[in-house]
Amino acid sequence: MFKKIILLVLLIVFLFSGMVFAQVYERSETFYTSGTQWGPPSSWNPYNTGGYAMGTFGLCYESLFLYDPLTNEYIPWLANSGEWISPKVYELKIRKGVRWNDGTMFTAKDVKFTFDIAKTAAIGLSPIWNFLGSVDKVDDYTVQLKFDDPLYQELGWYIYNNPIIPEHIWASKSTEEVTSGIGENPVGTGAYMFEASDQSKMVWKKNPNWWANSALGLDPKPKYIIDLVNSSNNVALGQVIMGQYDLNNNFLPGIASIVEGGYGISTYFPDPPYMIAGNTAWLLLNLTKKPMDDVAFRQAVAHAIDVDQIVNIVYGKIVSKADPSGLLPIWDQYIDKALVQQLGFSYNPEKAKAILAGAGYKDVDSDGFVEAPDGSKIALSVVVPFGWSDWMESIKVVSRGCQAVGINLAPEYPDYPQYLDSKLNATFDMMICNDQQMSSTPWTYYDWMFQNPIADIATMQNGNYGRYDNEEAFALADELDKVKVGDIEGMKAVISKLEKIELTDLPLIPLWYNGMWSQTSNAVWTNWPSSAEDSNHYLAATWRGYWNMTGILMLCDLEPAK
């Protein structure tokens, strides 16, 4: 029996002498990535927003514009230009000479079709029809969007976040197929085409006659892009170290030490926080419950949390502390510094205690924890989903901080559905949450923060889970939506009002900026984006929605390693 096993081993060894490195996809022309796909690739439907295979939108299907969050610029893509020819009419000039990868010409009718289909099928673009009147094709390369009451910021988000689909293929699909079909054999205008997929990977093949080659002189270097299904942290980290990924977008604990450790692994910033801030981690407070409904209490909590400990110990410095306004660094220009200076909070246990005392929170029964002014006991919990290791560590810090100032707050780790349920139905006390990714406008943030009507929060699933009810705030959020995209001053004006409300009422407490986790290897590809002067400043991320935030340009700037 042992012989058998030994034989087996021998056999394997034999088979491998020489064969191991005989690969089907030539390493030197293949781009390995991971960090988006949480299970085997299973959908190539660009409208399956949360589930389409990595790259379906961005590599295969494309949008009218790209958006560069670091420079706050729109880059004409399938559209040459978009202009407001009248206050309510937005005219899109469509790029000529673009072909779908099945050879068919791409024209205005595809764009019109894409907008129209959002009317019948419930997809990400559908809400535009709340303020869009009609879509008219002027000629083969001109489309006009006629609005009843244009929401500029929102439109600004749609034009780079919505995949354009080919009418000649999608016209025949039923509404179900559009919203939840698998969408195999995707036909897009993009730089890559479907090559293959299996349990653990998705393979994209370069589209030899991609329009941008000639039109923009862009040429993505990798012949193949292989996206590997996410594996456990240790596997991912191990493969990063061994240079088996070119780009990895997983949250990898200890990556800092790897970057310093000289494995040829780099991140956008050479030193802390290493990563570009991708979203804000908030502490949500349930305002429908006592004592969270008390501003003073919320202020106390805000002052009680030692965010630096989370940043330094839990995350090992790969994240950074959030501005009290919670606005991401890319939106720095919108932050009203003076206001923050005046109303902002920071870690200060003494002040926290003072605030509590001042508001009548006293430790009556001297159990080390304060009671509410009305004398009732306070016993609260802060929750994150079980298994979200970094957050689980983080709320320990949060609760320790609160307990230190006398607030009885305990960490709890329910399974995700419980977490979600308590979030949607406002049964939680406090929880961590980071729903909003970076985008073209702070409006997406405030829309999320001040989502209304409160009655529909559970089904809309788009923010304001603490049930903050303030008509003024709601109105301001809508007002911001109506500010023209280019009008920075106009936006600042509204945003500073929103910040004032936010900082005084603290409906939620911004804690830290989660990174746009991105670690790159120079083993096979070089010239990665970085903060360095001489290199490009695109986003090296394969996450859904990031290819069209300059991710695709990152591919074109790569250089094969010598």
Binding site: N233, P253, S257, I258, I313, V314, G316, E412, P417, Q418
Partner: protein, 286 residues
């Protein structure tokens, strides 16, 4: 028939003579003592941030530190404690149920046997993970105790089978028949006539259940179905993998817990064989 007392002395005699038993027991005892006195050797809680992160074993951190600078030794000690708890409670419950079911089935036979057999088979086949999954969602916090009880309630089938077989062979012995004829109640017979003659067997069953419970617990903890409010050896491995201890070369984080489990359970098995050789004259080697 020699007198019980003399018999016990004899057992002790062989027990002390038996190398396997000596080795096995001393290893188990070593870890048990470590688990009991260990907490005195450390003044941290398992999740306190006590020192530098990624710190290899050193004088002040015997087993090094975790990604957050938690003391691995502290986690290890408390994990050990949890493991023994699971072993005793889980193993105990498992044995108890196994004994009850096995006895009743083996003693009564017939329909009762049929039924209990069926029950046993069913419990064997049903994926306990599925049940645990459902339960776990309903318990806000899962503790070591809950886990142990759960394990106990799912791990008894093989014990039941083994004991059933034993009882079968015993119930036909004359001394049992005698008792039966003289109209003693079955339950009484079971515990006065049969049980004493199976004591050794029961003890060994318990030991095996004990070891089994520890292993199962480790598995559950590893896939995150273990305690949510305490540390355990399985959870240590889970965390180590979660935080990339392998690629970061933090061997001191994932080696001790597994090694301890292997050592303890292995020692238990060894003890078991030792006992077998002690109780079963046929196997005594001189």
């Amino acid at each position: 028939m020699t007198k019980p007392k003399k018999r016990i002395n004899e057992f002790l005699y062989f027990a002390l003579k038996n190398k396997r038993l000596r080795v096995g027991l001393s290893v188990v005892l070593f870890f048990l003592i470590l688990a009991l006195v260990g907490p005195l050797l450390t003044d941290y809680k398992w999740d306190d941030y006590v020192g530098p992160a990624y710190h290899p074993p050193s004088y002040e951190y015997w087993f090094g530190t975790t990604t957050f600078g938690q003391d691995v030794f502290t986690q290890f000690i408390l994990g050990l404690k949890a493991s023994f708890l699971v072993g005793i409670i889980g193993g105990g419950i498992g044995t108890l149920i196994g004994v009850l079911v096995g006895f009743t089935a083996g003693y009564h036979g017939g329909m009762i046997d049929e039924f209990l057999n069926m029950l046993t088979n069913i419990v064997i086949v049903i994926p306990t993970l599925a049940i645990l999954l459902i339960i776990s969602v309903y318990l806000k916090v899962r503790g070591v105790l809950i886990e142990s009880i759960f394990i106990g309630f799912t791990a008894w089938p093989w014990a039941a089978r083994a004991i059933r077989a034993q009882t079968f062979s015993l119930r036909s012995r004359d001394f049992v028949d005698l008792a039966r004829i003289s109209g003693i109640r079955p339950l009484k017979i079971m515990f006065t006539e049969i049980a004493p003659n199976m004591m050794s067997y029961l003890l060994m069953t318990f030991i095996l259940q004990f070891g089994g419970a520890i292993l199962i617990a480790a598995t559950l903890d590893f896939i995150g179905l273990g305690p949510t409010n305490a540390i355990s050896l399985g959870l240590m491995m889970n965390l180590a993998v979660l935080w990339g201890a392998l690629p970061l070369g933090m061997w001191w984080w994932f080696i001790p817990p597994g090694a301890a489990i292997a050592a303890i359970v292995g020692a238990l098995y060894l003890t078991n064989v030792g006992l077998d050789e002690v109780f079963n004259p046929k196997l005594r080697k001189l």
